[in-house]
Structure formats: C-alpha cells, structure tokens
C-alpha cells in the first residue's frame, strides 16, 4: 500500500518522467540560439541572436543565484538579507584574481603536461577554488550569527552584515584594487571565455552551470540532510527534541547556499567582465527574493521561472515602457502575490487538481452548448 505509493521512481526513466518539464526547457534553451539564427539570419555571434543570448546568460546566472536563495529561505526558512554578499564575494574574488594576479602568472610561468599548456586552465581552477573558499567563509560568517538570533533580529543582523560587505566593496581605501564606487572593469579573460568574442561558449557554460546546479540542489533538498533542513524550517523545537542539532543544519544550509551564490557571482563577473558594488548590495538580494517569491518558495523550479520573468519580461517591458518599466513590473508583482500567494509553481502544485478540474469544467461548458 503506502510503501508502493512512496517508492521513488529510480533509474533514468523515472528521472526523465519526473523532470520532464525541466529537461524540455533545457532542450529549448540549447536549440534557441541556432533557431533564432535561422529565423533572423544574423549569424550566431552578431545582432539580435547575440543580444538574446546575452539576456539568457544573465537569466541563467540569476536563476542559479535565486535557487541558492530558495535553498536558504524556501527550504531552510532562513530569511537572510545579506545573501548578495556571497554573490558579490564570488564576483570580486574572480575579478580581483583575474585582474591583479592571473596576468602576472600567465606572463611569467608556464605549466605544461607534455606538450599541453595548462597554465590557463590551472589559473582558472585556482580562481574557482578561491571563489569557493570565499563563499564558505562568508557563509560561516552569516551562519555564526544565526546561532543565537531568531526571526526579525536575525534578519536585521544579516542586513547589517550584508551592508558591511557592500560598504567594504566600495570603500575608497581599496580603490587601487577594487576600483571603489566604479568597481572593477575590463577583467582580462582568455579568448575562448570572452563573452564579446565567443558569446555562444559563455551561453553554453551558463546553461550547463544552471543544469548542473539545479541537479545538485534538487538532489540536496531530497537528501537525508536536506530533509532535516526542511524540518528546521517547520519546527525547530521539535527537531531538537528528536535529536537534531539545529545549528549544524542551519550552517550546512548557509554554506551550500553561499557556495552556489558565490559560483553564480563568479560567472556573473566573467560574463560582465567586471565586478561592481551593486553585486554585493541589498538590491541584488531583494531581486533574488522577488524572483523566488514570483516562482514559488521551496520549489527550486520556481526561482528559475521567477528569474526568467524578471529578465525576459523585464526586457520587453523596457522596450514597451522605457525607463518606467519597474513601475509596471511592480503592479504585476503585486497582482501575482495577491492571486498566486505561493508563487507560480507553488500555487500550481498546491491547487493542481482543482485547477485541472476547473479547466475541464470550463471546456465541458462549451461542449454542452453545442
């Protein structure tokens, strides 16, 4: 009986069935630049095809950032207003290393295996290891505050910590390295990774990154540890009483969310070839929050949809309404929150059967008239 109901569909077939919508989305995204190229005929690395690739790259990266926020707020129930610190931290780590450290290494040293020159690859690997290290440190910093504080006090402290890191990123004291208010621009990149010269490569890297992060996070939230993190959201006292230490699980949630956010930030810095103080600001956190709420908290797919709406609809709104587009978007956001209180995906999952019934009823209405 119940055992049959809850038996997970194992193997590839079960996975494809369960993640069908996501896999279709990935397939569409893979085909997108080529199809758009055929339609417009501008060439893959020019004109409107290139422009929409750029829009989608931003969307993919922001989707990962929003998903990492969902991990924290939707699954862990941890409302942190400083999540952009990890995102910006990753971005600054990449930009600083690539601008001030990598050129030095690349011009003075050569690392080879046989005839293969792997200097560039090694440098990039080191850069990404540093990104992970920075994210872990920022994650630890934030989770340390959550040991004693709860609710609004905790949220306020994360806001303060996030702002501190934001101020640090635009401090004039470090103008020489970080560029203070203006940020770091013109980060040197290898040709194959340069978004202006090889946008399609960056497009597929970002898409692959989104796919990988989704799969890993999806696995994590359904793992024994992930389930305990959800239990922490639901009822901390009870969780204690059945033998879990909430601090440990909150730290795990913070660290994993921070690592994903840091990697997203790193990729964002590569895509923009810059790191700016905006990336560490609360505005960035609020954007992720809006994306997560739009799509549905605690769903993982929701934040992807939310990021898509923000990016794609935002672009159309910009062309239709000009600089006033956030005003229109705000109205749309209020409407969505009013009528879909659990976000698009959240409300759909909750009311799936009744929505389907209503649609059937609606169609039956027409068939009767005939």
């Amino acid at each position: 009986m119940a055992e049959k109901m809850i038996k997970p569909r194992s193997g590839l077939k079960g996975f494809i069935k369960k993640e069908a919508i996501f896999l279709i989305f990935i397939a569409i995204m893979i085909a997108f630049p080529f199809v758009l190229n055929i339609i417009t005929g501008t060439g893959l690395n020019a004109g409107i095809t290139k422009f929409w690739q750029g829009q989608l790259i931003t969307f993919f990266i922001m989707a990962v950032f929003a998903m990492s926020y969902d991990l924290l707020i939707g699954y862990g129930g941890i409302l942190s207003f400083g999540h952009a610190a990890s995102f910006g931290g990753g971005a600054y780590a990449v930009a600083l290393l690539l601008k001030h450290w990598a050129p030095n290494i690349l011009s003075n040293y050569r690392i080879t295996i046989g005839n293969l020159d792997i200097t560039e690859a090694t440098v990039l690997l080191v850069v990404f290891l540093v990104v992970i290290l920075v994210s872990v440190l920022i994650g630890l910093l934030f989770s340390a505050t959550s040991i004693r504080l709860k609710g609004a006090y905790f949220a306020m402290l994360t806001l303060a910590l996030g702002s501190a890191i934001h101020i640090l990123s635009k401090a004039t004291d470090f103008h020489k390295w970080t560029g203070a208010d203006e940020g770091l621009h013109g980060v040197p990149l290898p040709v194959w990774l340069n978004p202006t010269q090889n946008r399609l490569t960056v497009y597929f890297i970002a898409l692959g990154f989104l796919l990988l992060c989704y799969l890993v996070m999806n696995r994590m939230v359904n793992s024994p540890t992930g389930r305990v993190i959800v239990a922490n959201r639901e009822n901390e006292e009870r969780m204690r009483m059945i033998g879990y230490n909430p601090v440990i699980y909150r730290t795990i949630a913070f660290l994993s969310a921070s690592i994903f956010a840091g990697l997203a930030g790193a990729l964002y810095a590569i895509w923009n070839m810059s790191a700016t103080p905006t990336m560490t600001s609360t505005v960035t956190t609020i954007n992720a929050l809006i994306m997560t709420i739009l799509g549905g908290m605690g769903t993982l797919v929701g934040p992807i949809i939310g990021a898509g709406i923000m990016q794609i609809i935002g672009q159309f709104f910009y062309t239709w309404f000009g600089a006033r587009w956030p005003l229109v978007f705000g109205v749309l956001f209020v409407l969505i929150v009013m009528f879909l209180p659990y976000g698009i995906i959240g409300t759909w999952r909750l009311r799936k059967s009744s929505i389907k019934n209503n649609i059937q009823k609606f169609f039956r209405l027409f068939s009767k008239e005939k």
């Binding site: 997970p8 024994p224 879990y244």
Partner: protein, 256 residues
C-alpha cells in the same frame, strides 16, 4: 517492575523572575513503570517536564539519568540517550506529510544524517520503521496526508508517533489527551499502554484526567504550587486526605 531507578531529579528548582514554578522537587522514576504526575493548573508539571527533557536549564538541582548527571545536556543529546518527549500543545512539522514527520524522527537515530547527495527515500530502513510506527499509532492510510490537515485527535497520535520513531527508553508524555474528546481518549490510552509495555519502556505521564491516570499508572505523584504533595500507588493517592483537600476535594470528590 524492577527497583532500578532510570531517572532521578534531585532538589530541582526553576524560578521565573519572582515566580517559583518548581520548588525543590526530588523525584525518582523506577524502570518499567508508568509514573503519573498530576496536579492542578499552574502546579509546575510542565515546567518540571521541561527541566527533565532539557528544554530549559534548572535554577538549582540536577537531573540524573541512568546514574549520569544530565542537567546540562542539550535536548538533542538527551534524545540520543533514549529520552523521548511529546508535547501538550501539538508540536509537529505542519507542512510535511505524516510519513515524513515520522521518518525524520526515525532518521535522527541513524547514521545517515549527513549524506547530502543521496536520496532520502532510498533509505528504506527508515521508511519501514515509520510504517511500523504509523501502524502502531493507528494512522495507516494517512501516510501522505499533510500533518496540518489531520483532525486534532490524529495530530495527537502523530505527536506520539514522532516520539516513538526515535525508539526511546524513557517516554515523557505531556498531557497526551489534551483537547481530545472523551470518546477518543480510550483509544489513545490503549496505544500508550501498548507502546509502553511492548518494549519494557518507562513512561512519565503528566495528566489532567484523573480517571485516565488512575487506570493506567503504577505510581502517582501529586504536585501543587511547585512542590510534591504526595506520592504513592493510585489507590493510596485516591484515599490520601491531604490530596483530597488540596486538589481532589474540589474537582474529583466523587472518586473517593
């Protein structure tokens, strides 16, 4: 019934501001007994419970479990030592399914809590254990219901199930029948009786319902105003003059 002491409170006190909720209470719980703690509202029963389960630290005194001082041991560690607790106010994971509520408790006692990249549903031992518990508490067929959607009586059962899935040796029941209608109570008593005696467990029971306490417990402790008033077998308590005048006299006079 053996004479071994499983849990002992020594001169336990808890002061909230100026209010002495628990005042120098010493109590010994014998292994494999059903020990009831009764008393009027505000007698300090739940506070005593919170001290025993580690939710709050005592102002004074100590708690001894199986010969070890556990006064400063955190609730999560006490759970691993074999102390389980249910709550007077329903304390479940509302937005998770019944099965997941219990599965989490079963998982807590295993060694798989830090497997981040494996699917929780593939650990069949916990699911099987949960099925067993769900059968025992009489919630079969409700596995995939959201805990928040259950009627109150079933939430109370789920509350017990979460505690049972940890397989504790010592069970602390904080008013298990709170808010239940009198028709639902006998079934719950039956379940409690079954789970306590099935594995030679020990239980401490805080209760309001006199009839329930008298029928199932071996030892009864009466508390009043933070102190222990009397202790003895249900019969002794029912005939104790002091208890009658302090507590039973007004409410349960007909019992004597």
């Amino acid at each position: 019934m053996s004479n071994e002491i499983i849990l002992e409170a020594v001169n336990l006190s808890k002061v909230f501001g100026g209010l002495v909720a628990v005042d120098d209470v010493s109590i010994k719980i014998q292994k494999q007994t059903m020990h009831a703690i009764i008393g009027p509202n505000g007698a300090g029963k739940t506070t005593l419970f919170n001290l025993l389960s580690g939710v709050m630290p005592p102002t004074n005194g100590s708690v001894i479990y199986k010969g070890n001082d556990i006064t400063r041991v955190s609730p999560q560690k006490r759970a691993h030592l074999g102390i389980g607790r249910s709550y007077q106010i329903t304390n479940i994971f509302p937005n998770l399914t019944v099965l997941e509520n219990i599965r989490l408790a079963a998982q807590a006692m295993g060694k798989d809590n830090f497997k981040l990249f494996q699917l929780a549903d593939n650990f069949h031992q916990y699911i099987n254990k949960s099925e067993e518990v769900i059968d025992m508490i009489g919630l079969s067929g409700r596995e995939l219901f959201m805990a928040r959607d259950l009627p109150h009586g079933e939430k109370r059962k789920l509350e017990l199930g979460i505690m049972l899935a940890c397989d504790p040796e010592l069970l602390l029941f904080d008013e298990p029948t709170a808010g239940m209608s009198s028709e639902q109570v006998p079934e719950l008593i039956k379940i409690i009786n079954k789970v306590v005696h099935q594995k030679d467990r020990t239980a401490i029971l805080v209760e309001h319902r006199m009839d329930m306490v008298m029928s199932i417990s071996d030892v009864v402790t009466v508390m009043n105003q933070g102190r222990i008033l009397a202790e003895g077998s249900p019969h002794e308590i029912a005939t104790n003059k002091q208890v009658q005048s302090a507590y039973l006299g007004d409410l349960y006079g007909e019992l004597t």
